[in-house]
Symmetry: D4
Subunit: 249 residues, 8 copies
């Protein structure tokens, strides 16, 4: 498996060896190589590392046509999962019309879902009912990476008994995504109950002093629990992707 | 017990009745009453309600001489507790030289500590060691109101076991002051464990994303626990005063 | 009155004593007890404390169906008041269709209103007409706790005479909820006029420099009146719940 | 009294009339007039308007030598008051050594204090003891404009009786400067008690939620009292200058 | 003209003198005077001062019915101008139906416009076309106080020539209202061109870095021009009221 | 070409010379010159400098009629390009009806597009698809200045290979406009790859922690790349204008 | 290995079986189990999971004596690594005096460094020289978890060539910690170059628009690179702990 | 002039041609070229572009030893100017001791000052005396690029006459750096007076509402003047570098 245009390179060198290519021309061409090809080179290299991971398209700001085209290219040029996130109704309708039915949930569309890896479980926990859409996006993303998902809903810290009733599920998971708006305290509590990776997702749920998720984001960063990490507000996709990086580590 | 200068008023009216006071002069004087005396009237009324509560002086921004004078006036004009808070070394030295030794702790000086009320206990909980000075100010203030204080230190929510080991003390208290910096999550957890008044004090403990206490303040307000209330950043005195209002209610 | 499944526990122990239960099996089952049952245990304990208080459901972010189901469970499993807050029209229509008519006001629905406690009065004060909806939510919540409510509207501090005309109602109340947007100064003034608990609710009323309630929230925390406490922006329910904690104290 | 170099202009025109100045040269010179002289023209005009007002130098960021030189120029080129504000010890020592003793207070130095205007009184009110330095700067500035100052200290709104005891002084003043940190509520209350100009000065007094004066500044702007205006944080000089503009109006 | 119920007071005193009123009853009644009547007393006093100024009602947050009722009361109980501001279409329709046609502009409705004072002119300046609505509100408010208004539009500081072409109008005015969004620099420039009162109104005009008017508000407060004052964002009414206080001073 | 009313000035001076104009009258008239005419003088001067640059009208906040009138005046009084930006549909329809078809794109309308300057190329780079509208506004503005535009889309720094594949286009450009929302990192990277002027435009693209473009604006200012400059959020027009200033330098 | 006092439990049950323990007494004791022991139970369970991880003490806000005591307890009660972070000179001196020399760097002190795990490498990358202290804290923390550290310094994105020269080290690492202040763009770039876990640490390096690290924190959250996670400002310890969670996953 | 190791490349190709290098080995080595050398390649390329520009070292966060070493390397490896900025006393002493005397001003040290370019002038304008240090840094940086500097001090917009008196210097400059704190209005005014590049530098001068330069930064971005650009707070070096990019364009 070559990373850059190895066949062309070999042909050039063979041409030099055979005398059919002038050394000066060869030097000239090769001298420009890093600038001309560095982009493709990096992408090849990069792709190697990303083997088996979904190609993701972020919907907002793209027209339905752009979505159809990009999804099409990714389906055509690879064989792995293709994931469209935060798609609106027009985008979904257009891509389904163009590329056939696919799994759908939480504003996401997924083609070629990979086999789930049987040996890993990621727990997605929410503090309140209103955090569900963000948790669904995280869960769907994890599925697109082949990671099985367990879900625990509505276990905000003001009702500690609901959380503690499920302490085994928390400590049994290989990684935990904590989805919480308002004061985001659930991340600190979960972080203290398990030693596996915990990714906190602040949500814009709440009103007033919640400041559209900024309070939760700051609170999660100021958390007294060590070793938890945070992604952006409402960024369920980011949390899923982050966990995927970790469980492959 | 009169609220305004009742003796004078009675004398005036008697003067009218006896004919020794001219009705016009009486009307003129009485007509101005609300403006001339409303201040004193309100303060009398107010004082009545505040019977037995400490008179407090906030140290910062006052010279040592001002502290000496104000403490002196309060000691002279009343018989209840007098409390100087956030006093610096110069202020403490000056007031002790002028008004004699007194109880001191947490930057506060107290004269005439009242008898503790035996039937009430206020629990002061801190999330971390660094929250102690604010908790001490709250505790000392509560003492100045005659309220017995129980203390629970260093029970941040990332180590839930330390908190739960003391769940009985939490549920037995008549009111709880929660002192927490960083993400302030402890307030939400405590609020869910007890149904008595919970006053949360955000502290400026922490760094970076803690934003000098603003994160904790916002998080406490965005809390998922219902019915907890919040005082200003590092305001241990305010928390103590607030609890005093509540336990007298 | 047992806190955990005492009957089962007793039966298990009796089984051991009688020899019908194997000691190893009993140990195995009991050893897991804290983890399996701690949740229920806490909730029982908690419930004991909360005897007589309303169960509340926060509407936003829940579907009408979710509201119907949760209200139904709470009505079925308890006998106390059940309160749905911030319900939109669809939610109200659905719950009324499912569970019968109930008291409604300020976006709240209440089943099984408790008897009012005759010996307590909570004054709900607003600074301006536009603060009324938040005050109504606070008042309705207080009613759900059985607390009688007195109301004083539109007494902003720029018209001090309107406020002072009612000073007796302020000083007669057992607790005061101050609902104010804009600069929130009313909380400081009321705090100085009474020594009972004062809970300040900043509202998002106003424009520009009011910053959607953040200015009022900060100003209430920076207040020069000692012992007042604050709840989140527009959080009338929180204020009502907080007062309920205090007046039971 | 001319605004631009009228003598020169007259001489030029007379030269044209007498034939000693070539019309083309005159046109050329006059044509450039707006660009060459607009600066001086504006300043002359401006000076006319500012007759009798103090020339002020803001100390911070200037060396002692710069202060000496600027004060010297202003003393030499005019006959009105000269005011140095926010001067540090080095600056004060240097200007006094260079220009002789002068009135000093609140970090200000004033030469040539004008006669006070007998018919006007400006009330400077503070909410707390710690606001005094800013109030002093305002008061001293007013004096430099010849405006007599009445002072009322420590009448924060949490002790309304102290404020109301002086309601006559408030309603008798021709203008009021309200100096307040913390929540700045005093401005709203004073604004409702008088119909003369009220200038509010937020101070950086307080801690935590006071946000170094930003809370007071926002609160004063969100005030429910109509027609009060605000200057910058701790800007006592600005308040004094603003009042001077108003009372000359 | 009495400030409190002088006739009643006189009758009471006369009753005492005549013996028809028992001194004890008189004392009892008078003793409560400050609390019972302080509100009315203040309002009377206040009204005296406010003689001739418009009574203003702020529309937002009030129902059309509330507007109708309040306007009606103010029209009935006084003879001065009545001004409804920020009224929406429903409110306007309702008040006009109830109280007859009135002057209308800029979302305001005015009954009983006073005679303009011929000796005063207030200049209202805008930086850009989009600031016009706020300027109109300021201008209409000034009219409600009887103050003649001159207008100067679209003279932002990036086109200094447009501003300087009207420098005479600026220096001739008795007071200036500067209405500016974006960076608000116009206030600083105008403040340096005139020595009369300058009230700056930051507007929410602009996008991005203008932060809905917060940038202009802060910039106006940080202004290098001394003695200008600032009102809240978009607060044209506040600016008009402030100028009215000043020009009566 | 005269800058001020030179003909009138010459006539006045000739009148003086001929004796038909009284010298006193001439002095009086000339003495007022700076104030009366400084505005026009500055604008003339300014116009000279701006020769050949488009006159721009910012659409928002103007009525369609105002747009029609201003465009008409600019078309009538000059011969250079006229550019209407951020026009909504009504404005576009009205100006086209009044002034004939014109080039349109990105919410802009342009009359009299100048000849492109063949020797300059400005590269407009976007980080993501959603930044396109702002980039289009920048590109259209550059065209209105006669500057040829090269475009490079969707080269966010998380896919460095896409950016590096085009490094020649970056280093070949005479100036670069970097349009990026989210974290705005593209500006720093581009700034390090070229030594020509780089103008960064933060966009409001993104959600949550992007804070509507404030994060990108701050990040671009905190950039580790030296010598890049920044314009306001979404300000494509500003970026185009800034580049025009630079390439004429 | 038992989680709770299994031996005692077994003895109690055996006592019941043998008849030496009264069933009622057993029930009574067991009934209280969840409350009495839940704390210890959780901590045991927790400890099991944390086997082999360092016990960490955060220095700030603790006295030197507190540090000595806590370190002593942790050394006495366990056999794993003990790590004191952010220790000041007094704390370091005291703990070394009490507990003997230990490894020290970056304000941290470590006792009982574990054997490094040979199969893992964590790359710690800094954007600039000034980020070194935070990177050192992260590196030292990783060492305390037995994780080998590779370091790459001063590879800010404005000099992309320095970064790309080391692209192999980036793609070879098992996880990457990116330490960057200013605009924090390095995190986005690194996130696009590798598919392993990337933890970004914003630092307070920089001035002005860097806002003490808040800009970098926000920018990292708004990053266009998917799957990177963020810890708090300057929180090198947090990053190290987070990586440890991930590489054990 | 080659960009990458052209001699080696030529030798390799010649070896292939001569048969002394195996084609497979050549292919293998060339195939890795982009990754091994891309860093150096970019830097060479970059250096070509940066010919003649100063190498700059930012002092803060570096030890004196680090400064000595980096300056030494830059002096040794190039022949162009070397500029150390924001150096503290220790750094200056150390570099001078190691590398000999050099030009110094404004906390900067410069070796090998280039010949000034006679045909360009950059005007550096300050709003107030306290902005001087930032202006000096900008001026010194411009000198390090060989750009002659004209200076205009203390021309804040509140004294427009001072600014207008120098309008010719403003319109004659080839570029303008505007250094202003407080409200930063000077940038808007200058932007309207000239059509050359204007770079605005917000400074942290001022107090209170200036928010340490954030107000000026925001105001400059919200400016009504089109085509001005902004650099970071107090970033005089950035402004100088930006102008250098522009004047070379």
């Amino acid at each position: 498996m070559t990373r850059m245009d190895e066949a062309d390179l070999r042909e050039l060198i063979e041409g030099v060896r055979r005398g059919s290519v002038d050394p000066d021309a060869a030097v000239e061409r090769l001298r420009r190589l890093p600038f001309a090809d560095v982009g493709d080179a990096l992408v090849d290299h990069h792709r190697t590392l990303r083997q088996g991971t979904p190609e993701a398209i972020y919907g907002p700001g793209k027209s339905a046509e752009q979505c159809v085209r990009i999804v099409g290219e990714l389906l055509a040029h690879g064989s792995g999962p293709v994931l469209l996130t935060r798609a609106d109704d027009d985008q979904v309708k257009a891509v389904v019309a163009a590329h056939g039915e696919a799994e759908r949930a939480a504003g996401c569309v997924l083609w070629r879902r990979p086999e789930p890896r049987p040996d890993r479980t990621v727990l997605v926990v929410t503090a309140g009912t209103a955090d569900t859409p963000v948790a669904d996006e995280a869960g769907f993303t994890l599925g697109a990476y082949g990671l099985p998902v367990d879900r625990l809903h509505d276990v905000g810290v003001a009702g500690l008994h609901r959380l503690l009733a499920h302490v085994d599920r928390i400590t049994d998971a290989d990684a935990v995504v904590v989805v919480a708006g308002m004061e985001g305290a659930l991340a600190s509590v979960i972080g203290g109950l398990t030693s596996v990776p915990v990714v906190a997702v602040p949500t814009s749920v709440g009103y007033g002093a919640g400041l559209d998720g900024v309070t939760a984001l700051l609170a999660m960063h100021a958390s007294c629990a060590s070793g938890i990490t945070v992604v952006g507000i409402d960024n369920g996709f980011g949390a899923g992707s982050a966990i995927a990086r970790m469980l492959r580590a």
